[in-house]
């Protein structure tokens, strides 16, 4: 009952403010000049990123260094959680011991298999078409991370590890992604460009498909890095609590 009163109060206040504001808002007459510049330049103009997707070209080309540091923040967060859950060699071996058998009834397991395949395909298409349609590396990578999550829920984390995707491999894939991003950002320096330069250095299109220069490379590497980073965190989080208590010497 108390919850309902609070909810009603908040709703009435919000509606009142919204109705008051709605009468006083004047819509802007014209586009922001910077936005207009991006819209005109991202595919056709002189400072072109050769990509019809304006958002991706802003993210990885016009404001590329911003995104580079955003990615760095995300990876620092992942490194932080990996550090909190760090285990030594024997402990991580022991954490891998377990039965990789399905936890849920047969129909759920079969549907999970199909869904995982579909999620992999969709996430790859989101990431690799990032320069043509809405989407990009981060979006595709976070969609990719849902697939191991489903496998952990329907089978166990041991099934994932027995099939070759353990924490070390996930971290290696993540590092390959990061390294790829760094190398793609530094490549223009070799031909006397500036950091994260895109056009004339990278090819604008291949086989008639616009590639957006370096955008497709950034998207691919970010896709690998984000997906594998999330997977490593999930593999650590899904270690049963009893094992952690044993490692840490907690008695209860």
């Amino acid at each position: 009952m108390k919850r309902l009163t609070g909810l009603l109060t908040i709703l009435i206040i919000t509606l009142g403010v919204a109705i008051y504001l709605a009468q006083n808002i004047i819509p802007p007459e014209n586009l922001h000049p910077l936005g207009e510049y991006y819209l005109e330049n991202s595919y056709f103009g002189e400072h072109s990123a050769k990509s019809p997707e304006v958002v991706t070209s802003i993210l990885w080309d016009y404001r590329g260094v911003d995104t580079l540091f955003e990615t760095a923040v995300f990876f620092l967060a992942i490194i932080g959680s990996l550090t909190i859950f760090r285990l030594n060699r024997e402990q991580s071996e022991e954490a891998k011991q377990g039965e990789p058998k399905p936890q849920l009834p047969e129909p759920v397991v079969v549907v999970t298999k199909l869904t995982v395949a579909m999620i992999l395909a969709v996430s790859a298409s989101i990431a690799l078409h990032g320069q043509l349609t809405p989407g990009g590396g981060f979006q595709g990578g976070s969609a990719l991370a849902v697939a191991p999550l489903l496998v952990i829920a329907a089978y166990t984390k041991y099934a994932l590890e027995k099939n070759g995707l353990d924490k070390t491999r996930a971290i290696i894939i993540r590092s390959i992604g990061l390294l790829g991003i760094a190398l793609t950002a530094l490549t223009p320096l070799l031909v006397s460009g500036y950091i994260m330069q895109n056009q004339p250095i990278f090819p604008g299109e291949a086989l008639g498909v616009p590639l957006g220069g370096s955008l497709v490379l950034y998207n691919l590497f970010e896709y690998l890095a984000v997906g594998a980073g999330f997977t490593a965190v999930f593999l650590l989080l899904s270690i049963p609590e009893e094992k952690f208590k044993k490692f840490l010497g907690v008695r209860r």
Partner: protein, 84 residues
């Protein structure tokens, strides 16, 4: 046409507001995660109506899938009910 879009936008924003209020005040944390997923779906529709498909793609995967799963992992490691 724009009036219809704005009406749907207002309704989804209100659903998001109600769901986030319920998520904050809920004592059963698993139910709170469910409310938070409802809020995420409502906001995803709002982002779609505001023509930001890039945000929608990341937001649906993270807020409905990954964020809920992380919270459920944490609830599984600690306690289900909030203690006052």
């Amino acid at each position: 046409m724009i009036e219809l879009h704005l009406t749907i936008l207002a309704i989804t924003a209100l659903i998001g507001l109600i769901a986030s209020y319920l998520a904050i005040t809920e004592k059963d944390l698993l139910k709170a995660v469910g409310y938070s997923a409802v809020q995420a779906i409502a906001y995803a529709i709002a982002f779609y109506l505001l023509m930001a498909p890039d945000i929608v793609l990341a937001y649906v995967a993270i807020a409905v899938g990954i964020y809920s799963a992380l919270l459920i992992f944490i609830i599984g490691k600690t306690e289900r009910y909030e203690v006052m």
